[in-house]
Amino acid sequence: MPTRPLEKVLYVEDDEDIQRIVRMSLERVGKMSIEVVGNSTLAIEAMKAYKPDLVMLDWMMPEMDGPAVFRKMKEDPEVADLPVVFITAKASSRELDTLIAMGAKGTISKPFSPKDLPDQLRTFWSNLPD
């Protein structure tokens, strides 16, 4: 378990409405800081600039989908070690399993509960190694 609490989250998501809800959820319910990136091709740059504790990736996005962003992160040592949680409307357990196999720290299914979302993220955070 990391010694410090989860504070900064970067969220990569193309849907602006969901961006807004997640921002409200994490800021108002979870009392965290959140940075949202709408264009997934800019995600890595944003990570380097914002230096989040944890990255939330949407799966289905135009141009570059979540898994592609994730693979690209692994090639870049500066962001390769950032813990990643996928948030996806795909419900099949097989698909979720492949994300975990790729090294994701957790998955959250859409629709998610904005009330519970910060707690879910903190649970993943607390399960991380030091």
């Binding site: 969901i18 809800i21 409200m24 108002r28 409307a89 419900a91 399993d97 859409k110 629709p111 904005p114």
Partner: protein, 608 residues
Amino acid sequence: MDLLNAPAQSLREAPNLALLDGAGQKADPRRILADRVEQLYDQLWIAIVGAFAIGGIATFELWEPRFGGLVLFWWGLVMLMTFASAGLLLSYRRSRSKLAEADQWMRWLGLSALAIGSVWGFAGAVFFPSHTGEQQVFLAFLIAGVVTSGIPVFAGSWPVYAVFAASVLAPFAYVLATFGNRLFTELAILVPVFYAVSVAIAYRLSNVFATGYRLRYAYSELTDDYRELNKRLGKQLLELEEAGRQVEASGRKLALFADRAPIAVLEIDVEGEIQQINPAAEVLFGYAATELIGQPIEVLVAADARAEFAAKWRAIVDTQIPMMAQLINNIRHDSLDIVCEWTVTPLVSPDGRILSVVAQGRDMSRQLEAERMKKEFTSTLSHELRTPLTSIIGSLELVNSGVLGDVTKDVLDLTVIAERNGQRLLDLINDLLDVEKIRAGKFDLAPAVLEIDDVLEEALVLNRAFATRYQVRLTTIGSLPATQIYADRKRLIQVLTNLLSNAAKFSPQGETVEVALEDRGAAVRVSVHDHGPGIPESFRAKMFTRFSQADSTTTRQQGGTGLGLAICKHLIEIMHGRINYQDRDGGGTTFWFEIPKYTPSNNNEKEA
């Protein structure tokens, strides 16, 4: 094929008649003997009548007052022999054992011949020395005549004739030889020669008769066999005609099937050349039959699928095994690509040759397109509906949770309703997706070793808020030592949520829903007891089928899609358990399911 084979097989059996092997058995020497005996008896009346008449004439001719007594005695002997022989003839005629006792009858006949012959011999021996020269000539003529005419009468059996002739000639020859007259002595020497010649003739005749009888039998057997053969041929001809009619009828039927079938039927020879096609094939490929017949089948296969097709064709021709449900990319006359499903059957002759290959196909393009669209629709349902629902439910939840600050009571009432119905819409979508996955057989499980009471506790926590809305309390009764099961946690909670929310929905306000865990040996049983109105009789049969709710009004009153229990049943069953319900004493219903306990041995293969 059977129709064609049946007559051919019976024809092959045809030469297997009793004609050759049966002939020898029927030429029975006993029957030939019996026939010869019968012939002898048939002619015996000639000897009897002859003896009667000649005896009378001879008595008259040889009458001498000096020997009156002796002549009359002889005549008496002739009569006796005549009547005895007539008696023998009569008893033979009446006999029923002509065949079985033929040799006995032959012996009796021999005795009769001996007796008659002896009477004549007696005449020769007794009257020749005592009578005048004229009468001696008469006697000599008589005896020669009797011996000669005996030949045809007794020709059926030369030994009988030999006995007869010997009994006539021997006493006469003896008398001639001892008479003292040189001429008579010389005549006596001639008698055995005459005897030998007569017996030889009788022997020849008797052989001719015997051969005649054998031939007669052979002939009758031939005609019997011929008749039998004729009968069988006639029967086979009828069978052949019938088979021919059947073949023709089934041929017509097949032609009708092929002509009117909505499925394309092609007959292709072993070289891959099209022999025949039906109207459906013409429509499917846009060719006239005349354009396709004689063409290689490859003209109907899309260029990029030809290598694969050639391999399949080889396999069919080599193994002679039919292929079913083969999807092949075909090409129409108008160059349009279509995907067809083919059933390909080689027609194999009894000697193992492929006569032709029959291919039956139908256009699957539309069906495959429909399946693709359905899959796409399912995926759209999953993603495109969930995304806006995420926003709707998420927004409302944030408002309703109060973290954004207070709203007026009226607004809150409405946003709560909106959130609840958004949730209901989401449940419906999830249920529909689950049903679709069940239907497509694509339900993925993520099983793990779980503590059942742990799972149950989580389900209770998740559903408590829902139950509270119906003013129903969820409680557990009894306790169970920690028991491990091997199941998909998320799916098990889905089942529990379904049962708990149903129980809450159908319980009267203020009631409790009790949940119990029970050890059932190899399995653990989870029971959910409610105090609801029970399940209507009419609804029981379709409890676990899709889209069933007790009545359509409950759908509106209680929400839900009617899919829940069908999904639960499927989920429990793919986790190797079972699910059912029973009425509770004093009202209410118990829904329960059982899941096998986890033991490392019986779950090894699932963990692997």
